[in-house]
């Protein structure tokens, strides 16, 4: 089986740019709207898709994504719906890496093996489980790796050098650097801090390093793209879905296109 992450990061590198990774919550505002919104991400130029699995208690998320979770669950989105959304996406987009991101309880409700098998069957490439740190890896890590799904780990400003090897042990896909000690959607870290952190992470791993949390504008995405292999944008897109609901797709596409344009302009600037 081909490694969509490696291929995609290599392709971006060859184009002299960093990968644009976009997040939306599955089933927001309803499960029926997700296909159009996901397609809009791809049309806008997203390289990798993070599909959020809604949870009633998203403790690591700020108001934007929390509201998206509640909108989705409020409209009745189930785990089966999310897997169907992923399966259909994979059918339409055979080459775009797809990540499921969410919390342990919905992922493990029917057991880690069940979840890993279903995600695999749906064409998912990677999983981010926010509340499973390396210390609790055995809850989900072995099942995912056995199914051939990458477990994408987070490194944060509080992850020191002594801890980093534990974070990297069993990690796959790419390393997600959370640039601020906080929740999603908050203020952005200083670029010099990000640059420094990414350099340290890259010295410790061969995995591509993507930076997220607090990236909201094309300018920020472009600046971070200069120092990292990937840039993750979530809350800013989720806010657009929140404002435009079932009519969000064209707005999402245009916004993502503006991010992508800014990140690509780098080539010419250099």
């Amino acid at each position: 089986m081909t490694d969509r992450f490696a291929q995609r990061f290599a392709a971006c590198r060859n184009q002299g740019r960093s990968a644009l990774i976009t997040f939306v919550t599955a089933g927001d505002p309803t499960a029926a709207d997700s296909a159009a919104i996901l397609d809009a991400l791809v049309e806008g130029g997203a390289d990798i898709i993070e599909l959020g699995m809604p949870f009633t208690d998203p403790m690591a998320d700020g108001p934007a994504i929390e509201l998206a979770n509640l909108r989705s669950l409020g409209s009745g989105t189930t785990t089966a719906d999310i897997l169907a959304i992923a399966t259909a996406f994979r059918g339409r987009h055979p080459d775009i890496p797809l990540v499921l991101m969410g919390y342990a309880n919905p992922m493990l409700a029917r057991g880690a093996e069940w979840f890993a098998a279903q995600a695999k069957a749906a064409g998912v490439d990677g999983v981010i489980c926010v509340d499973i740190p390396p210390e609790e890896d055995r809850e989900i890590g072995p099942a995912l790796r056995a199914a051939g799904i990458d477990l994408i780990r987070l490194a944060t400003p509080t992850t020191d050098a002594a801890r980093l090897p534990a974070v990297l042990d069993g990690a796959g896909g790419f390393l997600y650097h959370v640039s601020v000690a906080g929740i999603t959607g908050k203020q952005q870290a200083q670029l010099t801090h990000i640059e420094h952190a990414v350099a340290k992470l890259k010295a410790a791993t061969d995995l591509p390093v993507a930076v997220g949390f607090g990236v909201r504008t094309p300018e920020q995405a472009a600046a971070i793209g200069r120092v990292a292999d990937g840039v993750v944008v979530g809350s800013a897109i989720v806010d657009i879905v929140g404002s435009h609901g079932d009519k969000a797709a064209p707005f999402v596409r245009d916004f993502v296109a503006s991010l992508r344009a800014a990140m690509t302009a780098r080539e010419h600037a250099a």
Partner: protein, 413 residues
């Protein structure tokens, strides 16, 4: 060593070094919090080994909290239950008077311990979650005592329902942050407290109010609350020259119950009953995580949770705000699975009846949480021989509940 699984020699040696009580507990937090949790554990180990820490804790418990509080023989309740019991039946009922503590509940024991830890770690800001406001008041109290700024996260619905406690917290100098996310109750207050903490880890200490959350919280809260069981042990030996036959405590997150039970876990002749809030009944809306839930992960630990088949957390209901939580501390999940403690449900209606009964028979108005334990005692004591001894943890006083009770009884005050 062979690798056959054996029960530990002592039931008091949990959790293991990874914070697990059997299959429960653990540290299910975002990476940002993980280093802090590890740091807290290290500091807690050091504090536990430091006689000066213990001495300061004991001094405050004695002179500020007012411990030891009495173990009181509830003679009129005992006799009233014997009247309707078969001949020779009707156990003696004692009440552990946690409601006489400063701030009116057991919550303060834990708050004293944790603020001493905060001080030791050099943290300068305090946060806490609260449901009914009891833990919020206790936290605001110790923050005032130590001169530290304090923010209490409280669901917007609870802010509305518990106005007197909101005002108390403000008088004590705390800022009360009304949480408008989710169901706007205790679990959401805890989510927002965790969100705040993750963004302010450098200077902020989170005083969790029950024996739940990521390791080491369930352990340290239990240890601080164990003063309850240790006192009962000494007081019962003095009063009756022997250990009690049964301990009964209400279980929300489970801090007063584990504090009562833990010192007795290895005394196999001491039976234990944890009382879960059955709300409208187990087939209606309730807060009985063990009786009506399944194992899952929330708020940093694996434990029994009220949830649907997709792992979404469902809303709890109890007339008692302090029991109105969809989870339970992980050590209780473990004690339930190994069968050491028996967990029983008590409904809103039963608790209301016991609230009134204890008030009129003993002149003690119990917290609605505690009234659940009294109701269980009323059910169980008449089935035991008259020479048996039951201790009920009267975890708090009921002044905070008079509005709720009046409303439930359709009385205007």
């Amino acid at each position: 060593m062979t690798d056959t699984i054996t029960l530990p020699n002592s039931l008091r040696s949990q959790p293991d070094e990874r914070g697990h009580f059997g299959a429960f507990g653990g540290r299910y937090v975002a990476e940002t919090l993980m280093p802090l949790i590890l740091d807290l554990e290290k500091e807690y180990r050091a504090a536990k080994a430091d006689p000066a820490f213990e001495e300061e804790f004991q001094t405050l418990l004695k002179h500020y909290v007012g411990r030891p509080n009495p173990l009181y023989y509830a003679g009129r309740l005992t006799e009233a239950l014997r009247k309707n019991a078969p001949a020779g039946k009707g156990a003696k009922i004692y009440l552990k008077r946690e409601e006489l503590n400063h701030t009116g509940a057991h919550k303060i024991n834990n708050c004293i311990g944790q603020i001493l830890l905060a001080k030791r770690m050099g943290k300068t800001k305090i946060i806490a979650e609260t449901g009914a406001g009891q833990h919020g008041v206790a936290t605001a109290t110790v923050a005032a005592l130590f001169g530290l700024p304090c923010t209490i996260f409280m669901g917007a619905k609870d802010v509305e329902r518990q106005k007197p406690n909101v005002f108390r917290m403000k008088l004590l100098g705390a800022e009360v942050h009304a949480v408008t996310s989710g169901s706007q109750t205790l679990k959401d207050a805890m989510n927002d407290a965790l969100r705040h903490w993750v963004s302010n880890v450098h200077d902020t200490f989170y005083i969790i109010g029950t024996a739940a959350g990521p390791h080491p919280y369930p352990e340290l809260v239990r240890d601080f609350q164990s003063v309850i069981g240790k006192e009962i042990r000494a007081q019962m030996l003095e009063a009756e020259g022997r250990l009690p036959d049964m301990l009964i405590a209400p279980v929300g997150g489970g801090s007063n119950a584990i504090g009562m039970f833990h010192p007795f876990l290895d005394d196999s002749d001491v039976a234990m009953v944890g009382v879960e809030a059955a709300g409208e009944g187990l087939d209606g809306k309730h807060a009985a995580s063990l009786a009506g839930g399944a194992s899952g992960i929330l708020h940093g630990n694996r434990t029994y949770l009220l949830q649907d088949e997709d792992g979404q957390i469902t809303e709890a209901h109890s007339i008692s705000a302090g029991l109105d939580y969809p989870g339970i501390g992980p050590e209780h999940s473990w004690l339930h699975e190994i069968g050491r403690v028996d967990y029983v449900p008590v409904t809103d209606k039963e608790a209301l009846a016991s609230f009134q009964k204890l008030s009129s028979l003993e002149g003690i108005i119990p917290a609605l949480e505690s009234a659940h334990a009294v109701a269980a005692a009323e059910r169980i004591a008449p089935t035991l021989d008259a020479d048996k001894i039951v201790v009920v943890n009267l975890s708090g006083r009921g002044d905070k509940d008079i509005f709720t009770v009046a409303e439930a009884l359709e009385v205007e005050i």
